[in-house]
Symmetry: C2
């Protein structure tokens, strides 16, 4: 199984597609561009959800739920937002099926069930939510509103890839309403920081924070803050965004409030989201040619125990010990799987759990019973050692911590080595092709230059770093004045 995985150096993209399916994370469904998230993949997503949800609540947000459908007239109210999503909208036009008079047992859309107004399956929920907020907001006492929603959204992308770009995906979307510009901006920044801490501390993926250029800003936003991560193939991946929406949605939906002083003012807005796309970032940051590598904090099983035996008698004793080890580890809050199936051989199991990225593997056999030891193998380094059963819990706890840290450091080192300052366009192209990663380059600030560079190299501006000490220079393409270096990369 694991043996048939394409090597990364051979074809990174193929390696990714194979790994997602073989490690039981997700697969394509019968609906174009929609995926089935399998239990193993979903349990990783659940861990992410739980941690994010905790962080949202700690920062004063509440969950709620808004409709899946957006009436066309609401959808088009904020023009830029509508324009940005119009080309990839699933549209509900009818509400009934009937038996097909010409084909027995088949159904057809009932032509008499056409909706008066078409419904858009939400690609994002600003429109439906701001239409609702209008009803909720009258005075300053009703502000701020800080709501998050866990939901599915649909964007009819033409080229889809499991987790990275799917027609339907799962995400959370935060939507907040504030009395002042400053408070909304603070919220926008707070949430990009929440995302950055989550992705770094929990997923062990180092990120760079910054803002998007006008061309890459969310449709309907004033400023988009983002975190960008670097994948092993030198391409960047946008891992989360937080948008300062200004008063655009207050304008579109006429949302005003009375201040303490009795004045009528427009409400300020933010929105922010991360999605199942993070699963793609997770896979492409840590995994290797043997399969998935999972940071312990979100591994469904942090330790797998594989008993090894020849005879039935050995089996009984070894499995008994394995169970007792499982209990010990579990009492230290470690997530443990004991695979004592006798339908599969140890070698098959080793390969299987390597493929699935379980951080630590404990193998225990008759010799270990004699010596009071187990064999402990690390997934990230593939190193093995014998550990005394007495020290085991402590060793496992330490190793899990160390794996979490090591993965982050390793990814950080790779990322740092792949930020290259370039000062002319020849160098830009050369580094992009031969080394990849982020190119730190000066840019004249115009959309035209951004577009031209994209056309020539496929690299886009991933972000404008937030840097107090940024120094001016000359644009890498046009030589015109530049306020600061920005980060270019090819991107997912």
């Amino acid at each position: 199984m694991a043996r048939s995985l394409t090597k990364r150096a051979q074809d990174y993209s193929k390696w990714y597609n194979e790994l997602v399916v073989k490690a039981d994370l997700a697969e394509n469904s019968s609906v174009r561009g929609c995926m089935v998230i399998k239990p193993y993949g979903y349990s990783i997503w659940e861990k992410m959800q739980a941690e994010l949800d905790k962080k949202f609540k700690q920062t004063g947000h509440e969950n709620a739920y808004f409709p899946l459908f957006v009436p066309k007239s609401l959808f088009e109210a904020e023009e830029k937002n509508a324009e940005g999503f119009a080309k990839e909208c699933a549209v509900v036009t009818h509400y009934r099926l009937q038996t097909d008079p010409e084909k027995a047992g088949k159904l057809q859309v009932d032509p008499n069930s056409r909706l008066e107004e078409e419904l858009i399956v939400r690609p994002t929920s600003e429109a439906v939510i701001w239409h609702t907020y209008k009803k909720w907001i009258e005075s300053y006492r009703d502000l701020p509103i800080k709501i998050n929603q866990w939901a599915n959204v649909v964007r009819w992308e033409m080229r889809t890839r499991l987790f990275l770009r799917t027609a339907e995906f799962l995400w959370q979307e935060g939507h907040t309403a504030h009395a002042t510009r400053d408070e909304a901006l603070e919220e926008t920044k707070q949430m990009i920081n929440v995302y950055a801490r989550f992705v770094e501390d929990f997923m062990a993926i180092p990120v760079i924070k910054g803002t998007k250029t006008a061309g890459e800003t969310f449709a309907g936003a004033v400023t988009t803050y983002c975190i960008e991560a670097l994948m092993q193939d030198g391409k960047a991946l946008q891992a989360g965004t937080s948008h300062f929406l200004g008063q655009n949605f207050a304008d579109a939906f006429d949302v005003k409030f009375t201040t303490k002083e009795g004045k009528l003012e427009k409400v300020w807005a933010t929105s922010w989201g991360v999605s199942t796309r993070l699963m793609g970032a997770l896979i492409m940051t840590h995994s290797d040619d043997n399969g998935l590598v999972l940071p312990p904090k979100l591994a469904p099983h942090q330790v797998v125990i594989v008993p090894i035996y020849r005879s039935d008698e050995q089996q009984e004793e070894v499995v008994k010990k394995a169970k007792s080890i499982k209990e010990q580890l579990e009492s230290a809050d470690i997530r443990v799987k004991l695979d004592d199936r006798d339908t599969h051989k140890p070698g098959w199991k080793f390969a299987q759990y390597e493929l699935k990225g379980v951080p630590l593997r404990i193998a225990i056999g008759p010799k270990d019973l004699e010596n009071d030891t187990v064999e402990l193998a690390r997934r990230d380094t593939l190193s093995k050692e014998f550990v005394g059963q007495k020290e085991l819990v402590k060793v496992v706890v330490d190793k899990l911590e160390d794996i979490q840290k090591t993965l982050f450091q390793k990814a950080g080192q790779y990322r740092d080595e792949h930020i290259t300052e370039v000062d002319n366009f020849e160098q830009f192209k050369e580094v992009l092709e031969q080394k990849g990663g982020f190119l730190s380059a000066h840019w004249d600030g115009t959309q035209a230059t951004e577009d031209k560079i994209k056309e020539l190299t496929k690299a886009t501006i991933r972000l404008i770093p937030i840097d107090e000490n940024a120094k001016p220079g000359e644009c890498v393409l046009t030589g015109k004045p530049s306020k600061q270096r920005v980060l270019f990369a090819k991107a997912y």
Copy 2:
């Protein structure tokens, strides 16, 4: 606010609709039949989800996620299931909008984006899931599959009511695949028992277990097990169902497995679900003319503390004590809200938290500081007493337990008093109109009689009780032989 709530005796239905909105649980959205679940309502749903999810995992189920859309050709594969839902399906026919050439700033559906095959927004996921299971199941080693999904579904109901019947609703749907009939039947029964325990122990709603008649069985199922609860107005509400699907979906999607002995056999199936409809049951079982009454186990706030003061000096001291009481209670794992806003008066707050069903209210004022007491009020009985601050944590813990128990007992007593044995049709009609509740009556087992009684009285057979000692008799309408009494009621 609370004062303007319609009385139950006056108009139960109006009382319900008002309460859902005024207690901040949910409201209608701009999309016909779709609701907005507001943060307070959603936090109750989250508590239900967490508890159910734990129970599902304890019984060996894993979560996964399947697509929102079902291609028409898959949808129609299981004919009865398709027929059952065909008349209430939202159908996606196009995947793109474009600017309307005739109206500036408006969008229209791009006629060139018509889908080759229409997509049904899932009303339930058997079709899409069994199409997937076919790929997953080859041998007995792949069985059982025990998967649950938390999702939104859409059924285009003509008459909708918040929580009780909405076009889009949230639910969980379990879908399991088994090697044998017995195992699938066991699973079906296990899950109806899981639901019953959850609804009784956690929501304090007594239920009756049974099976549905053929006419009320889930479209595509062999047997539907259900739990039915009784609302305060004497109408029944179906609170959860668990379906034994036999081999119907294995037939429709050609899902077979190789047995240990090498034979090819068809897979057995179950599905089971509960939805946000349970919120309706919760509201209508416990609440009163002052507003919501929540069982402590799922109350977002189990205790609210309202400080009472006249002067600034008093405010400081009282709020300080209130905060310390909050901390003490929280350290005993009690969910506490301290409402120390000075924009609202205590009386307003009292009414507000009554309306929102907070189980216990603590009021604390200057006199209480002198006497080391607080005033403790129970939401369910509206009784008040002074409690010494030293005993407070213990008293609160005990009262919360008592409220949970009392609510269940009270609802159970009402339910028991509203199960009436009737032995002729005159009595049937009389009891139904004058007393309501469940009518325990003999039925001849035919669809025709069931339909006739429904036509004459609007009562349906809610369930066939599971009763080992059931005695035969004569049908209440036709006088024909009956195997056992069944429960009739008007229903939501």
